[in-house]
Structures are given as structure tokens and as C-alpha cells.
């Protein structure tokens, strides 16, 4: 640090700034899209931050009609968009195009004064998170997708923890014939591409009556995660001293109490970390869900399909993506110290 000359310092500052910009700018624009209304999505150039307000110009017309004008910001000023006497037309226009959830009657009440004062500009506050609400309303299976994703993640965590921690305990605590071979086998299963089993898994799950079910899907997600859980927990079980468990037994605790009061609390960080890995596998996957489900889609699959069906409403897909990203982001950061170990034994 002390040996750095000003040149080097400047260079490092530039590199850091450049890297952060490269990472942050796409994220900002993307978040902006998720909070944009249709007008902003179709406008160009794009804003780094989505606006929170919408301004329209209202011109009163004969027969109880109002004419609505909007400025696209392309320099051509206000353009006529809609002329109508019906409140419902404006209500749906405001919701769909401007991201403003307001009743048509309220709009007409506001515009009443243009009858006397002539055309005026009105500014409305965008309804916050309207794209998120719309995502669950408009995109097929979105709400059930979120529920399914949570369910399948829970199943995957339970299955992986149960099978994996048994294995981890056996590998850590016993020296037995074939131990090394089992370690190698677990590594192979962990690295094995899921796509290599998911097509034929469909046949198996149909036979078992688990096709298009979250339990069936969890069975395939657990394949790499059981091996991973064994691996993570075995390294922790090695560290928990056997003497402590024995002492607890001598002091009269039964094996269940010992497990509950001594072993489990000490092993908890490892169990939590492997649970989060299981969660991420189930939460982030799309290919297995595509192959093994039909009606019961997961959220990741719903977002994948949303891009094909609602090309006009990419802001809804973007909002859905943010719902998808947040839990994954939180869990990844919680387990980041394990990621380094996963990727080759470095501490983060």
C-alpha cells in the first residue's frame, strides 16, 4: 500500500470505477424498466431512473368528451392520444400506459375545471409497484409460480438435508471400506449435468405419479444437493469433537438430547449453508422445470415464458425478474464464504 506511487493509485481508482460502472449501470437501467410505464418503455433514449410522475394535457371537447395529449419527449411536443367521453377508457389507458391506478370518475372530476379554464396540464403520481401487481395479474401462472417455487425449494431443502446429513455424518465419523470410493461417487453425482437425467426422469416421474408435481421436481434438484450436503456437513462433523458428545452421554443425556443440544447447534451453520445451496438450485433452475412440469410451473419458468408471450409488456417481465432475483441475491450473500470454498478452498 505504501509503495504505491500516484500513477498506480490513479490507475487502480480508474479500474475500480470502471468495474463498478460496468456492473451497476445495467442493474440501474434494468430496475428502471421494472418501474417504467408503457410510455417510458417505448421511449428513447432511456432514463437511468424511472419517473415517479406522469404529466398529460387535457383539452375539453364537445359532447362531454375530453381529449388527452401526451408529450413523448421527442421534441415534437404534445400529441393527441385519446378522445372519449367514457370514464372507463381513460381509466384503463392510465393503468396500462402510464402506470397510474386511478378511477375514471376521479379523473373526470379533476378535468371538470377545463370546461371553464380551457386546456390544462395535469400531473399524476405513478402507482408504486404497479408493474409488480400487474405481473401477477397479467402473466399466466405467475402467482402459482411463486407459490410453487417456494414449495419446491422447501422440498429440496428437506430431502437434501435428510439424506445428505446422514451421509455427511457417516463419512466424517467412521472409517470403513469403500469410504474413498463413496467420496468420488458423490463428487461425480455433484458434477453430473442435470440435463443428462431430466429427460428420462420424466418417464420415471410419470410412472410414480409425480410428473408435474413439486415433489417430483424436488427429487431431481436434490440429486446434486444431497451429495453437496454430505460434503459440506462431513467437514463440519469432523470438527465437532466426539469427546463432547461422549461427555454429554456420560452426564446422563440420551443420544437424542445429545444430538439436539450438542451436535445440532454446532453443525447448524453447515446445515444452513447447504440448505441455501439447495434453495438456489431449486429457485434458479429452468431446464428441469421446463421438462418435468406442465401446468405447475415454477416462478423461474414463468419469467422465462413471460418474455415470449408478453413482448409488449417487458416491464412486467422485468418486475417479475426482480421478484425472482431478490431471494436469490439475499441467500447468495449469506453463503458467500462457502462459495469460495466450493470454488476451490479460498476464504471470502
Amino acid at each position: 500500500m505504501n509503495t504505491l506511487n500516484p500513477m498506480e493509485k490513479t490507475m487502480i481508482a480508474l479500474v475500480v470505477a470502471f468495474m463498478c460502472l460496468i456492473v451497476i449501470i445495467p442493474l440501474l437501467f434494468f430496475t428502471s424498466v421494472a418501474f417504467s410505464n408503457s410510455m417510458e418503455v417505448n421511449s428513447f433514449p432511456k432514463a437511468l431512473f424511472a419517473s415517479s410522475k406522469v404529466t398529460v394535457k387535457i383539452v375539453p371537447q364537445d359532447g362531454g368528451k375530453y381529449e388527452l395529449l401526451y408529450d413523448y419527449g421527442k421534441g415534437s411536443g404534445y400529441e393527441s392520444i385519446l378522445t372519449s367521453a367514457r370514464t372507463s377508457n381513460f381509466e384503463s389507458h392510465f393503468r396500462r400506459q402510464y402506470g397510474v391506478s386511478i378511477s375514471g370518475d376521479d379523473l373526470f372530476k379533476d378535468w371538470e375545471m377545463t370546461r371553464t379554464k380551457g386546456s390544462m396540464e395535469f400531473t399524476y403520481r405513478k402507482t408504486p409497484f404497479l408493474n409488480f401487481i400487474q405481473f401477477f395479474r397479467v402473466v399466466p401462472n405467475a402467482a402459482s409460480g411463486l407459490r410453487n417455487s417456494i414449495v419446491v425449494s422447501a422440498y429440496t431443502i428437506l430431502i437434501s438435508l435428510f439424506f445428505g446429513s446422514l451421509g455427511g455424518y457417516a463419512i466424517a465419523r467412521y472409517r470403513f471400506k469403500g469410504r474413498d470410493q463413496i467420496n468420488v461417487a458423490l463428487l461425480i453425482v455433484r458434477m453430473f449435468p442435470t440435463v443428462g437425467i431430466s429427460v428420462s426422469m420424466a418417464v420415471l416421474l410419470i410412472k410414480m405419479g409425480l410428473f408435474d408435481s413439486m415433489l417430483g421436481l424436488a427429487c431431481i434438484y436434490s440429486v446434486p444437493n444431497i451429495a453437496l450436503t454430505s460434503w459440506i456437513t462431513s467437514s463440519i462433523f469432523v470438527g465437532i469433537s466426539k469427546e463432547m458428545e461422549e461427555a454429554s452421554l456420560i452426564f446422563g443425556a440420551n443420544s437424542f438430547q445429545t444430538f439436539k443440544n450438542i451436535t445440532l447447534p454446532l453443525a447448524f451453520p453447515a446445515l444452513a449453508a447447504s440448505s441455501m445451496y439447495s434453495f438456489l438450485t431449486a429457485w434458479n433452475d429452468t431446464i428441469s422445470a421446463l421438462i418435468l412440469t406442465n401446468k405447475n410451473q415454477t416462478l423461474s419458468l414463468v419469467v422465462y415464458k413471460a418474455i415470449g408471450t408478453t413482448s409488449s409488456g417487458i416491464q412486467y417481465a422485468a418486475a417479475g425478474s426482480i421478484v425472482l432475483i431478490l431471494p436469490a441475491l439475499v441467500f447468495t450473500f449469506i453463503i458467500r464464504k462457502y462459495i469460495g470454498q466450493m470454488w476451490g478452498g479460498v476464504k471470502l
Partner: protein, 299 residues
Amino acid sequence: MIHTISNRNRFRIPKKAVPYILLAPIFIYYIIFWLIPVLTNVKEVFTDFDGHFTLLGNFKFMAENELFKQSVRNTALFAFVSVILEYLVALLLAVVLNISFPGNRAMMFISMIPMAITPTATAILWKTGLMSDGWINTVLLNLHLVDKGFIYMNAEGLNAVGMLILIDAWTVTPSVMVILIAGLQGLQKDQKEAAYLFGATKLQIFRDVTIPTLRPSITTSIITRMIAAIQVWSISVMVLGYGKAPFLVERVAFYIEEIPGVETSSKLAYTYSFFTTVVVLIATIFYLRISERNARNQA
């Protein structure tokens, strides 16, 4: 009390059997949910539509498929170029930034974000940018780098693969950098100092001390990355659509999603997924061999 103890002893499981009993559930699980699907897949790949054995029939069928060659080329290109690009850039960044400076931790934190984003969400993120009125053109025009926005979505062939490689690089490179920095910080300082004392140059230290120390962590992480890169598909489909930049797993998804329920398409899905698995296994073994040989040569 005594009675129960003796009772318990009578049913005691021999100690040697305990680990096998603990491992039995895993064993059974993997027979059902791993071995059976793997064997089913193998069986499907080596039988024809009438259920007769065929050694190469399905592979020929797959190879005649118009997008097969492209998908193999694209997958190889993507896996190879993206991994090399990401690791070189990340290594460079890691070496430059392997010092403590204000905001160090914040930068590390920011760098980890892209990798944590679900792949389907990453695809939508970049789709919003790559649209002709998207934010990438906005940035390029604002910086006056171009006079007119590009149309990215029509990219085909190698351009499309290149574009996907860049997206992947955005996702992966910062995290690899963080991992390499962590590896570098674990490096023994005295090793470096000793090398200095013996008159080694910075480059020599980098080659003979830094790289060998990092090798174990680089090896594991490159294999993990390579396996993931070979299985790329959702970004290609979501950004460009099916068939624009075909990949091996993209073909599996195509036959499952776009032509479901047809005998030929399920056969092709089996064959493609088998082929992908074999490619992953070969690539892993190949990489391990090379890195072992390099390690030996260095020693």
C-alpha cells in the same frame, strides 16, 4: 434399569455396519433418481423407434439435423472462449486490485451481484438493453460512441455467440475476480518476500509463486464454470429465440418445448442430452489431465 440396558445391548447393531446403514438411504435414492434415469437415457439412445438395438442410428439421426453442427460449434466456442476470457480478465483485475484501498469491501460486494442473479432474470436484464430502443443504445449514443443505434436482436451465427459470451462475461468475471483476490490474499507473504530477496522479478514471482499457489482454486472453479458454460441455453432462447444461436441444451429444450409429444423429438432430446453429458465428462477429464501435466512440468 439394568434390564433395559441389557435389552438394548441385545439389539445393538454391530459397529462396523453403522456407516453403511447411515449411507443406505443415499444409496437407494441415487439408484432410483440417478442410476435409473441415466440407464433409461442410455437405453433410449441405443435403441431405434421399434426398440431394436442400434449403435449409431440415433447419433446419425441427430447429426443429420440441420442445427446439430452449429450447436456443437457454438457450444464449444462459448465454453472455450467465455472461460478463457473470463479467467484472464479476472486474473488481471485480481492482481491489480489485490491491495487494500478505501471502498475495497464495497467493490467486492458489488462484484458478487451479477453472479447471484437468476439466469432467466439475467436474460431479461440484457434483453431490455439489447432492444433497438434499449439502454445499451442509449448509453452508446450519450457517450457519442456511435451516431446511430445498433439492432442487436437480429444477430446470427458467430455475432450472436459473441454477444452471449459478453453477457456471460458480465455475469461471471466479477465473481471470479473476487474469488481469485481471496486466493491471492491467502498467499504467504513470506514466500513473496523470500523470492524478492533471491532477486526474482515481479513477473517471475507471478509465474513461479502466485500462479502455482492459485492453481488448486483455479482448477476447481474453471471446471465448475466450464460445466455450466457447456449447459448454456436459456439466455440464448430468451434474448434471441430458438434456433438463432443453437446450443446443445438449447436443442433439448427446443424439442421438449416446441415439438412436444412427437416420437422423433423425444428421441432427439434423449440423444442431445446424452451427447451433452458425454461432452461435459470428456471436457472435465481433459481439463484435469492438462492441469495435472502442467503442474508436474512446473515441479
